[in-house]
């Protein structure tokens, strides 16, 4: 897409919605264990992945995010019982919308990360940043700076 030539220096802007009880704590674990991950992500703490209204994700794309990730507890671990099941359902809808909009599927990701999985959190972010770098800047990026 868009500015292919600038790809070498392209640093994607990525929004991550992380649930307070598992994934955000997982990011914390990565931090205290001094496991590094790329600084492209803007972490937004929500109480539960089930709090992530599809509008949050679509709005992030509207404002020019190159990738968006929703992250919560593993199934069975959600502190609100079925928040992550809801997140999964909505994610399916989001995938379809992103497809119709013509955005690459690599820009959207759903991950379950527990509070103990600091290493995994960092790994997931590294992969995601790599994937988004490959598809390049979002075609929506220029509309807002």
């Amino acid at each position: 897409m868009g500015n292919k030539k600038k790809e070498e220096e392209f640093e994607p802007k990525i929004v991550v919605f992380a649930c307070n009880w598992c994934s955000y704590a997982g990011a914390d674990t990565a931090g205290v264990s001094k496991i590094q991950y790329p600084p492209n992500v803007r972490l937004i703490r929500v109480m539960c992945s089930g709090r992530v209204n599809p509008a949050f994700v679509i709005k992030a794309f509207e404002r020019g995010a190159d990738g968006v990730m929703v992250s919560g507890c593993h199934f069975g671990d959600c502190h609100y019982m079925f928040g992550n099941y809801q997140a999964k359902e909505r994610f399916e809808i989001l995938k379809r919308l992103i497809h119709i909009l013509g955005l690459e599927k690599e820009r959207l990701r759903l991950e379950w990360v527990s509070a103990a999985e600091g290493g995994r959190f960092a790994q997931v972010i590294r992969e995601f940043v790599e994937d988004v770098k490959k598809v390049g800047r979002s075609p929506l990026a220029p509309i807002t700076i």
């Binding site: 897409m1 868009g2 209204n53 509008a55 679509i58 709005k59 809808i93 379809r96």
Partner: protein, 381 residues
Amino acid sequence: MVVKEEVLKKTQAYYCLDCGKCTSVCPISRFNGGFSPRRILVGSLTGRYEETLKDEKLYTCLTCGLCGTRCPSDVKFGEFIKNARFEGQKLGNLIPCAHGGAIQSLMRIMTSPSLEQRRLGWVPRAAKVAEKGEVAYFVGCLPYFDAFFTDIEVDSLKIAKAAVKILNRAEVEPVLLKNERCCGHDLLWAGDLDNFKKLAEHNINAIKESGANTVITTCAECYRTFKIDYPIYIGPLPFKVLHITEFLIDSVSQGKLNFKKTRKKVTFQDPCRLGRHLGMYEQPRMVLSSVPELSMVEMERNQQSAICCGTSGWMNCDAISKRIQSHRLKSAQQTGADLLVTGCPKCYIHFKCAMKDPKMGKELEIEIKDLTSIIADALGR
């Protein structure tokens, strides 16, 4: 403020007699005593215009036009609301959006010129469609609604498939624009004039490039937007715009379409945009009655007095909307009809949603179909 004078003048607000007929017929006021079109209008005339612009009630109005059918002074209340919203948005006031504003975001995303959508994945393999040609079918937001409302099974794309089937049967190979945008209706009525214009210009150019001289829509709102708003805000259109019912009437009278017997008793929900905004009450009824053995019954409130489906432009969906919808669905049931026919994909979505309500949904159930779908079904295989 000069704009204020202009708005009040062109919507004939100064002629208001303060009679309150608008409030007495307004479906919102009926269930929400705090909302009164008379008070909004008279307030704006008597020094509280700036407050009106900031008031959330400005977005509560459905712009359904029912008040306009009673107003003795022909005040254009819907136009007043639309213009006031333009100004309200210039001041950066927040709109109460349903679904967290997701749908408005999708529409604003579509203003981006570099978007390469994949919006035609639904087209059936057997369908005959083209990239260039004389007649274009404007699909609008149906692919997005279909995905977004998966959980209430609205299946909006059924309407699009039905339209293509009808056109093919009438020996038309419609152009489907692979990169058309939302028509802009909802952004316009939310007061976002700039983004509306971007969408409109994009669509007009895409249609011009396709070489089409006729554009057909299956959505009452797309139709009103093309017919009334594009010429006002952009300029005269270099093509003709038809609602599918108009196309159907022509094709039936020329004997191009033959329907099989459909033993159903149906009632019709007049969409505000098609009915009161454009005066098209007869056309959908003519189309329905051209299907053999299909009989029509009217709801108590029909045509000019029909009640809106309760939500407009993905704003203001709340408990009041649900009450309007349940009231409307009950009057559809009272007609004894087997089937409620809608003429706007959004009425369809809103009623479907009301019927999915976990508490009262069961009581409200009635089979519902869009006009385009029922006609396509009547064509047989």
